[in-house]
Symmetry: C7
Subunit: 74 residues, 7 copies
């Protein structure tokens, strides 16, 4: 058992993760990098806002807007 | 009697805990790791948003979105 | 007269306290531990949300969600 | 003339002060202790929420919920 | 030209200043003291909340509730 | 190319800048001083709140209420 | 693979980036500088607020208002 919560994301680098944001949108993308503030760099990212889906490509998501981050089983 | 509030969760590692979040959702899961900001890694997690239940699997919940965390008696 | 506001809670360890939270709920429970951020561990806790009462048992309440904490006269 | 804003409250220890909170409630009580975060311990406290008045007795009010604090002329 | 924004208030000590707060109220008073968090001690203070005016006398206003502070030309 | 975002404002000292605030108001004024928190001292300032325009003269705007700051081309 | 999320923006200096802000507006511009708080200096910036588009020219955007930043493929 790890002692650091962020390790659940460190193990997911190079894989797809799903972020739920405080503004009720979701973003999925390939995890490239993250830091202790939970700032996250995703590649091939897609934002879901209700019915709308928007391709973002590369994106930096600011940590303080994130509710949760979850690796996606593919 | 312990002097650190977080010890109530340290004693619950490997067991199921319930989180109530500021956005009025709840998440339950098996507690894997936590830190002093109350960032929490859960396995086998399930999010409850009103009537809706969503399986999340592994998830990192950002501490500043959490109102309370409670070990579940099973 | 003490110089630290938190001493009003340190004197209440092992006794019942009432917390009012920013989301308009209240939680009462037996105070087990607290820290300078006002993170609080309660035992035998009960959450009151309008008309609804929910038994929580052991719970960690995050300090930044708390408006006030008050020892209960029993 | 003092250089520290908090001295207006240090001079009011043992006297009644009025707090206006961000959630539109007011609390008055006898000032016992305060710190630089404006966490405040009041005795004989009473909360006013619109028409409703609630006796709180001893209470710790978290500094980040306070808009202003004012000594009461009695 | 000064390098510190707060000097515009340091020069106004002993004079009347107007504060606009995040909760859409205004407070005017004689500036007695301030700190780098913009916590402000006013004397002879008056709060304006829409049509209502309330005499506060001495008051400490918490810096994080302030949008702007402006010396009043009298 | 500079490495510090704040240099775009340092180059605008003595000139008019426009601030957009989180409360949907705008303030324009002559930039006198700023710090790393983006606390800003303006002279000859004017606040625009929908249709209403209010002359403020000298004003200190708290950095955490600012969304963006932009030099005005005159 | 980089270890710092902010590198996705460092690689985009001199190119156009799109910012989504917490107030539901968007700003695009040529990235000139950024810091670890995600404060960002853009040139040739344009703000989109629903149907409305506003030319801003040079602008400093405060980091804590940003949800995400994404390099634009041109």
């Amino acid at each position: 058992m790890s002692d650091r919560p962020i390790d659940v994301l460190n193990d997911a680098k190079g894989k797809r993760v799903l972020l739920r944001l405080k503004n009720k949108t979701e973003i999925s993308g390939i995890l490239q990098a993250l830091d202790l503030h939970l700032n996250i760099w995703l590649d091939d990212a897609e934002l879901t806002d209700g019915e709308e889906k928007i391709k973002l490509g590369k994106v930096l998501v600011r940590g303080d807007t994130i509710i949760l981050a979850s690796p996606v089983n593919e």
